[in-house]
């Protein structure tokens, strides 16, 4: 690790910290329906949306209606995204003439699911599959919509803690609209121009054919990238315009575009902790969560950075310079860009998986085993290290419920959080969410490790599902595991070597995404409904304070222990064993003899 590398990580976190309070306070006003400085400019857009959609701003919904509205919104988003992809051949802005043949029904299902659930998994190959119109009208729109939905749910859950003896959680349509109009859209506009000023492209031209200096033919993909890049980062969506995502020079051309790109990922999740504190009437509660986020973020980023800088001993043996010097970055440069080097690649990998973003500026599949373990473990925690927009806050509040429950068990007292008694219903709902996601990750990964299909058949042309991996040995298991971790965690980054664009993978990953999104947030909304109805009980000398270092420690411990206990066996068979094999110089080449249980 270099001091400049550490400095960049520090400055990044400092920026997120500095913006948490002003943006957090602004968002609290937005969601409580108070006037902000943006109202003179944007109030008319909000009102127009209500008018067109037939929404009544003053009606509040109980948790069941709130959930129904969310589901309706998501299902229409899914259908529209699916249809636009399949119909791209007859739609405008399609200079490369991509048709329905480029997006098979299973691929369109996967991508539509992925953009509704804020996963943005790339089974599609951006520049070789989708027209500009689909990128704009389907994917860009869903980037806004799924991010705003995440914020709405987080705010609803916070209202559950903040309110007293209430039946309602707010109005989904209003929250969704306000999040989009007052938060996501203005920041995206500013970010888009910032990106273009660095060299991110924004045009509707056909691809450019050039004859290179040595006379080879090169076709350069074009498109309206910056407008999508902005919301893709801000909304922690992460689905790239190009296959190579934010490693592509047209998506992320300079370190000066890379920093805002990173900053946008953590901006709203960081600020929402302050919004939370403000809405429950005690900002120290929000800062405690911010502190827990920061601790877990820093542990992850330094483990990842250290492992990547140490590099691959098998390459060092060949006479490669793997130590950093003033003239080159050293370390494990396979799958990394020179302009980002090791520090900014490891930072990006950590940030994108702490949050449910999934954008990448380096290829996680080529990381060292422990460097690649960090992103995987980050997602396994449920992405509660800053987390996705909204999703991070509602995820960590779930862990807060579990943490006070565990503390309550230790001292034999009914647990309380923010003056609300945490009872059977809330703990059950929290556990349901944790178990559903673990179930999805482990069951689908196990299935894909053993299931076989006939080669060249419909379901999985390569044959057995493990034949799709790009690397054999434990790294192959890591690829499969990462796939379902990413799908269930609604992250969308990948160990990209796996050939996951087959009906089997598209459908199972799609299912994992639905489970990971809705079986996580519906129980949470149910818990929110039950919390809202409760009375607040005054704090006494016996109340466990949830705004101090002790609670932060307990919360971090709960996240790490739940994650580790659930996934340690799987991790030890993947990245951990690979780490030791790499140190021992073991390589994997030939396909292992394989007989699946169903063959």
């Amino acid at each position: 690790m270099t001091s400049v590398g550490v400095l960049q990580i520090g400055i990044f976190l400092g920026l997120v910290l500095v913006c948490a309070k002003p943006l957090g306070a602004y968002m609290a006003r937005v969601f409580e329906g108070q006037r902000t400085f943006m109202h003179p400019v944007l109030r008319w857009v909000e009102l127009l949306t209500y008018k067109v959609a037939g929404i009544r701003e003053d009606v509040e919904q109980p948790w069941t209606q709130y959930t129904a509205a969310l589901l309706s919104f998501s299902i229409f988003g899914f259908l529209l995204t699916y249809l636009l992809q399949r119909a791209q051949g007859i739609l405008p802005f399609n200079p490369q003439h991509f048709g329905a043949g480029n997006v098979t029904p299973d691929l369109a299902f996967n991508t539509a699911t992925s953009f509704v659930t804020n996963t943005n998994w790339q089974a599609y190959g951006g520049e070789s599959t989708l027209s500009y119109f689909v990128q704009m009208a389907a994917l860009t729109v869903q980037n806004f919509a799924s991010a705003a939905a995440g914020m709405a749910i987080a705010v609803a859950l916070v209202r559950g803690f903040a309110g007293q003896e209430k039946r309602t959680l707010g109005n989904f349509w209003v929250d969704e609209t306000r999040a989009t109009v007052y938060v996501l859209l203005p920041i995206s506009v500013v970010a888009a121009f910032l990106f273009v000023s660095q060299g991110v492209i924004q045009n509707l031209s056909p691809y450019t054919d050039v004859a290179t200096v040595e006379g080879a033919k090169q076709t350069i993909a074009q498109g309206p990238v910056a407008s999508q890049e902005a919301i893709k980062q801000l909304g922690t969506n992460g689905g790239g315009f190009f296959s190579a995502n934010a490693a592509h020079p047209f998506e992320n051309p300079t370190p000066l575009s890379n920093l805002p790109s990173l900053f946008l990922i953590f901006l709203i999740p960081g600020a929402l902790t302050y919004t939370f504190g403000k809405m429950v009437g005690d900002t120290r509660q929000g800062w405690a969560i911010f502190a827990a986020f920061s601790v877990m973020f820093l542990i992850g980023v330094f483990v990842c950075y250290q492992s990547e800088q140490a590099g691959n001993p098998l390459l060092a043996k060949m006479g490669l310079q793997t130590a950093a010097t003033s003239g080159q970055a050293g370390g494990n440069m396979e799958g990394k860009e020179v302009r980002f080097g090791i520090a900014n690649s490891a930072l990006y990998a950590t940030v994108t998986t702490d949050a449910s973003c999934g954008a990448v500026n380096s290829m996680h599949d080529s990381y060292t085993p422990l460097g690649g373990l960090v992103p995987m473990f980050n997602i396994m925690t449920g992405e509660v290290i800053f987390g996705g927009v909204g999703a991070g806050l509602y995820g960590i509040l779930l862990y807060c419920i579990l943490a006070v429950f565990i503390a309550g068990l230790m001292v034999g007292r009914t647990p309380e959080y923010l003056g609300k008694k945490i009872e059977q219903k809330e703990v059950k709902m929290a556990m349901l969410a944790v178990v559903a996601t673990a179930f999805s990750i482990l069951v689908f990964s196990s299935l894909s490790s053993v299931v076989t299909f006939s080669a060249k058949g419909y379901w999985n042309p390569p044959g057995p599902a493990i034949a799709n991996v790009n690397n054999n040995g434990p790294h192959g298991l890591s690829e499969i595991l990462y796939t379902y971790v990413s799908g269930t965690g609604n992250n969308g980054s990948a160990f990209g070597g796996i050939g996951a664009n087959t009906p089997w993978y598209n459908l199972t990953i799609g299912l994992a995404m639905w489970i990971g999104r809705f079986l996580f947030l519906i129980p949470l909304l149910a818990a929110a409904g039950s919390l809202a109805a409760k009375k607040k009980i005054p704090a006494t000398a016996g109340t466990f304070p949830t705004d101090g270092p002790l609670f932060v420690g307990l919360l971090v411990g709960t996240v790490l222990i739940v994650g580790a206990l659930t996934f340690f066996p799987a991790l030890s068979l993947g990245p951990i064993v690979e780490h030791f094999l790499m140190r021992g110089g073991r390589l994997f080449s030939t396909t292992l003899p394989f007989h699946g249980i169903w063959s």
């Binding site: 400049v4 509205a69 529209l80 995206s188 273009v196 350069i220 407008s227 190009f242 290829m363």
Partner: protein, 193 residues
């Protein structure tokens, strides 16, 4: 029930128009006026012929040019319509074999260079389109380029220093050399024999 469902469709269609059409087209329009070059891919023209993009790498094989990093894009290296990394893991035999071949090729092309090979020069980038190599990777090739062009190695090294981009704002990212720009400068200053 319908009052929960219908707004879903209506708001979706409205958002598609505002966020899916108006927003990207407005950004496109303004970008085309304010940053016309960058918004269109920072293309480099010689005469009226486009020979590449400043920020998209190209493949170089001739000895008189600085070579870029290996590229893992599809069948052709530096295919800018098919960005991709190798996605080879650290214990993959293919990775080790490929790096070994690159190392041998480099040693053959640059027999005078005895130092360690900078890691970036024999590994593939994440996009397969990396326009840069590290300054050390450029200097490691300086002697070969100088010989092939019949100029002094100092002249090449001076160009390398001139074309080394320092970290942005002095601390962001890594120092780097844009291969295409440097090669064009070489052609400008010391035409090939």
């Amino acid at each position: 029930m319908w009052e929960q469902i219908l707004p879903g469709l209506r708001i979706k269609l409205f958002m598609t128009v505002v966020l899916g059409i108006v927003y990207p087209l407005a950004i496109t329009g303004i970008s085309q006026i304010v940053f016309p070059k960058k918004a269109n891919g920072s293309l480099i023209k010689i005469g009226d012929k486009v020979i590449g993009s400043e920020i998209i790498g190209q493949n170089f094989t001739k000895p008189e040019y600085l070579h870029a990093r290996p590229s893992a894009t599809g069948t052709n290296p530096y295919d800018a319509a098919n960005s991709s990394g190798s996605n080879l893991g650290p214990t993959n035999q293919k990775l080790i074999d490929r790096v070994k071949a690159s190392v041998e090729q480099f040693r053959k092309d640059n027999p005078e260079y005895q130092g360690p090979i900078p890691a970036d020069l024999v590994t593939t980038s994440a996009s397969g389109l990396d326009p840069h190599i590290s300054p050390d990777s450029a200097r490691a090739q300086a002697l070969r380029v100088a010989k092939a062009r019949g100029i002094s190695v100092d002249q090449v090294n001076q160009l390398i220093s001139q074309y080394t981009e320092q970290p942005d704002l002095g601390f962001l990212g890594e120092p780097r050399v844009n291969v295409l720009k440097l090669n064009l400068a070489l052609d400008g200053q010391a035409p090939q024999r």
